[in-house]
Every structure is written in C-alpha cells, then in structure tokens.
Symmetry: C2
Subunit: 405 residues, 2 copies
C-alpha cells in the first residue's frame, strides 16, 4: 500500500500547496472531473468525503479507510475543539496523521453546530426541513456581530467561536481543505431574516479570510441566502470575489429548493473553482448535483445508517424507491449465504455472509458496525468512481439514468 | 497470508483428524510444549484461546484474528444455540468459516451457563469466589438426571440441554475441539453436595462420549470435585479412563485452591493427553498453571477489560502488582505521543498514539474497542509465544521469574 503521506509536518509554509484543476467537462451537463492536489495527496473529483466527526470515521481505523480506497475524510471543528482540543490534535501530528489516515482531510468551520445549538433548537428544525419537529427548546448559544457564545454540549463549559477562532482552530487541526465561519440561516427565516443572516455571514467570511495564516490549506467560502434566488446569487458573487473555493451552505436543509439553489450558486461562481456541497447525501441527490457542477460532497448517511443496520446495494436490487439500501435485521437474511451485495467486491462482501452479519446485528456485536460502515463507504467510493469514469467516457447521463430510472 | 483453511466441509469423517503431540518437556517443572493438529490448522501449546462467545471476538473480524497471529478461538455452545442456532451456523459453513477465521476453534459444552443460570444465582456466586455477592436470586433452570431445563436469557423461551443435546449442537457448530457436558459445582458446596454433583457429571460425561457421531472433533472430558483432593483425584482418574483430552472445570471459581486442584488433576491424567484450563486468565495464573502442565487456556480477560479501557503492558512497566495493565482513560495519556506499550509491535502500537486512543475512549468512539482488544490479544499471543520459546530453550522459570518477581 503506497503511503499518501507526503509531509505531515509542513507548517506555515508560504507556498500555496493546494490546487484544483478540471480534467474533463461533460458536454451535455455541468458535470466535470478534476483533481484537488493537497500536501497529503490527491482528491479525484467528483468525490465524497467520509465523515469522521470526532477524528474517527465510526468503527473504522486509518488502514480501513485506505483499504476502502477513499480519497478524503472530513472532521468537525466544533467537536475537535471541545474534545480533545486542537492543541492535542496538533501535538499528535495533526488530524490526518493522528487518525493514521495520512491522506487529504477537510474540516468544517463549526458554523453548522452554531446553527444546531441555536436557531435549530429554537425553531425545531433539524438537519432536513422534513424532519421538522413541533418541539421548541431554548437556544444554547448567543450570536453577536463578534461571534458566538455557547456552552459545550459535553460539560456546559462556556465557549466562544468567531471567524478568527475557527480559522485558528482549523489551522491547528491541520486539514488540507478548511471552511470559513458562517451564520447558518434557518429554512424558516423570512426574506428579511435571511438577508440579515447573510450580511453577518459576509462579514464573517471576510474576517475568516483575513485570519488565515497558513497558506498550505485551501480556504472555502460558504454561500448562503436560503431559498431566495437574489440572495443566493448575491452570496455566490460575494464568495466568488473573495475565495478560490466555494462550499454551498444550508441548501441541504430545504430539499424542495435544493437543486435551484445549487444552480443559482454554481452559475455565479467561476467555473475553475472547486465547489463543495455540505451535508449531501442521498444517491439521487449526488447524481443530480454532480450534474449541476459540484465537485465534492460530505454526509453522514453511509456511516450513520450502517449503525442502524442499513447497507447499500447496487442497481437493480438498489433503486430510487428503496434509496439503494436494505435492512440487515430482516429475518429473511438470517440464514443467507449471500454477501450484502452480490455486485460488491469489498472486503466485507468477499468474506462474510448476510446470515452472519444479521446474527452480529441481532446480537449487538461490535463487529457489525465496522462491517456495515466499511461496506457502505466502499459503495460510495465505487459510486463516485463510476461517476468520474462516466463523465470521462461521455456517458454520465446514461449512468444516471441507469441508477435513477 | 497463507490460509489455515484445509477443508471446512469435512463432515462426519470416520478418520480421527485431531491429534496432540508433546514436543519439549521442561526438566525442572511440568511445563511442556506441543501441538494440537486439527482439520483447520495447528494449535501450538501452551496457548491461549481468544473468546468469541457469540461467534465473534468482540470488535475484531476474522482477518484481525489472523493478523494478530492467534492459533485458536473459543465460542459458547449455549449462546450460539440460542442465537443464531446451530443449524444456521452449520449452513453458514460452520463456526470457523462463518467468522472468516478458518482456523482451529473450540466450543464449551454449555455447562457453565447452566451453572450461571442456576446455583450461581441461588448462592450469589459469580465467576470468581471473591466476587461473591450477598444478593440471592431464584435460579432460572432446573437440573434433573436427564438434563437441564431452562429459559433463554434472551426471550424466556423454554429450552433443554443434556449431554446428547450439547454434543449434537457442538457437532453442528463444527469446532475442532469440543467439551463434554458437565454439572458445575458451586465453590460453596459441602463435600456431600460436591460429590453428588460430581456423580451427575460422571454420568453426563459418559453420555456425552456415547453421543458423539463425528470423529474429526476432539472431545474433552471435564474434571470436577471442587476443592476436595479425593474428589478431584477421583474425577481426574475417571476422565483419564474415558477421554483423550481433559478440561479442568470449576477450578477458576475458587482461586485460593486453584493451583492445588490443577496439581491433583494433572498428576492423575496421562501425560500424553492435552489439558485445557477453563476460564483462566490472569498473567500470573497462566505462568503458574503452565508450570503445572496445562496446555491451553481460555478467558475473557484480555477482550473484556479492553472494553473497559484497560490495555496490557510488558514488564517492567507491567508487573504483578498492576496486573500488567493500565487504564487508557487516565488524563496523563491525553496528549501522549507514545504507543500503548513501547515494547509492543502490534498494528495498534505501530500506528496509534495513546493520546488518540485516550480521545477515542473518552469520546466513546467505536474504534477504541477494536484497537484495545487487538492490542490485548496480541499481548497474550506474544506472551504464549515467549512461554513456548522459553520452555524449548530450557529457561521457562527464568522467564516466569522475570515477569512475576
């Protein structure tokens, strides 16, 4: 296994060491393939970031991530700041090395957790608008122009996050791709409220950029503006003016308007810049959003649903209706000698039967979480591989049609 | 990695395919090295069976077990009978193949669980006498001459276990080494009660032997007799008369008398027969009992304490006083760049810092259970390797002294 590790100790290099290049553009859609070169290796795009919130992709070790063939892992600034703290991560060699992953990494800004602990509680909105809850709770943070005061979800400790602080933390964590600090709008905001939030985000974006000291990390701006076309366009243009890379924020919270939001944004950002879609997703969304010109995604779906017993399957067994997933806990699996997916060549499908994995799940054996997570991430890895290949072979829409029709 | 797999589908072979041979005998003690040859590979003795109660060594997959370098895994008849059922295990290729381990395996008889659900509840005795509880609960089973009626600990279903049933289940599970069905005495039994239990065990042992249909599995007898020398000698002689391999039962429940019991037993069983010590154990016990002539051990200690955050360390950091273990949750580990054990060459120690593992444990990340379990079993594997080497190099007592003094 060749190490992706190039130089983990490179710190405060004055050389810009992350770059993006488009390789092939699809002729009939906005889909494209490309490469993000980082000090820790190359991310082939379109691609999917496995989520390792606390510096660990649930139940998998660094070698597993390499064996799966992933290109990049995303971790959360808020969580790592609270525990173990960015100084510890830095001392342990930085995010990638600490995890024995040593490949490219990305961190978010903590903005999403500000949302989760604030307006999301107050208005009862979850990660997706459809999961809206009638429950209203007091917010656990206070947003000012300066930044966000909040309490640790672990021990109630008083904390403060600002653009400057988020960048400082992300520089210590040492990911290759980092994200500017933003104020996430509620999908329930009025036009006026959304505009106010966007104006705060714009100030924080500029402050994030000005706070950057390391130049070996690619800083992504974040676009906002809710479901309002003019605000989304304003935000896209603002980000395009200030950043070399763009992340789409908040769009996944309002699935009804998501594709429009992506379109409005992508059309107003320079083609040559890498574009990341935060918090997506589902297989159909990935196809549709790659089609609109997005390069990278991150989402907890493949890892989270694994822990609930769901495993992904290729077409035709998997389809849009079953969301390409099946439930290992079903009794029809109990004595099956088949692998999870007959079309899959991952370590799990080559070595274990559905009957055994069903037993492990029913018996709550710890091993089951690793096996299902491994398979699901291998499935996403292979999907992104197929998508890249289809774009380069001028048959992206055919592949999409095969999967989603 | 060469496969240990020789022929998993061998069923009802009339050839006796498990054999034991002593290789080197220590001159100053009863310790010896040897080999148990099985259809799934060789078990070098003295050795330690990793415990995979429900057909899974907690958090590890079959490849992990091979990478650690284990020789044998033990699973529990009672648990696998209840879930997923021996017929399912058989359909999935048998215990070893189902787990993607494919190496030698052993199953116990279910006798210990009969004890756990019966007299252990009634008299408040746990796995070890020192863990004695003042709590008394009604027993969940009923013992007759015929066998044991009990309720499933999962769903209360009424079940029956007998010598014939235990052997039938163990033949379906397909382990290489199997154990006769016994009645486990409470360490609190009087002489008379112990004798009564022993007499029942003797009947059940003969019935177990008579029930055996497969001849490619080595059937171990089980010796009992509590702490009473004459009963232990009677049981050893009885087992020696009927069986080619002997397991020591109940001795680990009463640590005060354990070494005496091992001595009384070993002295009354033919030297050439392989001897297994059930439920042991601790590092010092392994040294002392290898010295008395025992060939194999099984115990949940290395796997169970891993899940509580304990990891084993070699001398001099590990010693008899700290039981060769340390606690990863201690804050002094929080930013440590050291491996768990500087002397260890396992995958975990080569790839991860104590600081990272401490973080994973504090954050309850699933990965931590795999990493600590892997390390602890590698530690036991290496210990047994060192013990075998020391016996063959005529320095067993020196090694023991180095570890235990």
């Amino acid at each position: 296994m060749p190490s992706r590790h190039t130089d983990p100790d490179i710190m405060h290099s004055m050389r810009k060491t992350v770059s993006f290049a488009i390789k092939v553009k699809d002729k009939s859609t906005s889909a494209r393939t490309g490469q993000i070169k980082t000090p820790h290796g190359i991310v082939r795009t379109p691609n999917f970031c496995a989520v390792g919130t606390q510096g660990s992709v649930k139940a998998l070790d660094g070698q597993d991530l390499q064996n799966i063939g992933l290109d990049i892992v995303l971790a959360n600034t808020y969580h790592l700041h609270i525990r173990p703290g960015e100084k510890v991560v830095q001392k342990l060699g930085g995010l990638a090395k600490m995890m024995n992953w040593n490949g490219p990494t990305m961190t978010d800004s903590g903005g999403f957790q500000v949302f989760s602990l604030g307006i999301a509680l107050e208005q009862g909105v979850g990660k997706l608008l459809k999961e809206e809850s009638t429950q209203r709770k007091p917010r656990l943070n206070k947003i000012t122009q300066e930044g966000v005061y909040f309490q640790s979800h672990l021990d109630g400790a008083k904390l403060f996050l600002s653009p400057e602080k988020s960048i400082e933390i992300q520089e210590a964590l040492g990911a290759d791709l980092i994200i500017a600090f933003d104020d996430l709008e509620s999908p329930k905001y009025s036009y006026k409220e959304t505009l106010q939030s966007l104006e705060l985000t714009e100030k924080w974006l500029v402050r994030s950029k000005n706070a950057q000291k390391r130049h070996d990390q690619l800083l992504y701006g974040v676009t906002h503006g809710g479901k309002y076309e003019d605000l989304r366009i304003k935000s896209a243009k603002f980000n395009d003016l200030h950043f070399d890379a763009i992340a789409l924020g908040g769009a996944h919270l309002d699935k009804k308007n998501m594709y429009d939001v992506v379109r409005w944004t992508v059309e107003n950002v320079a083609d040559a810049k890498p574009k990341h879609m935060l918090g997506v997703g589902e297989i159909d969304d990935i196809f549709n959003i790659v089609e609109l010109g997005i390069d990278t995604f991150d989402c907890v779906i493949p890892t989270r649903v694994a822990r609930m017993g769901w495993f992904f399957v290729n077409p035709p067994e998997g389809n849009k209706k079953n969301r390409f997933r099946k439930d290992i806990s079903k009794s029809l699996n109990s004595a099956s000698k088949d692998p999870l997916d007959k079309k899959c060549t991952c370590m799990v499908c080559l070595s274990y039967t559905k009957g055994y994995i069903h037993h492990l799940f029913k018996a709550r054996e710890l091993l089951v979480y690793r096996l299902l997570t491994y398979h699901n991430l291998f499935f996403y890895k292979t999907l992104m591989e197929q998508i890249r290949e289809s774009i380069e072979q001028r048959r992206f829409l055919k592949l999409k049609d095969k999967w989603l029709s």
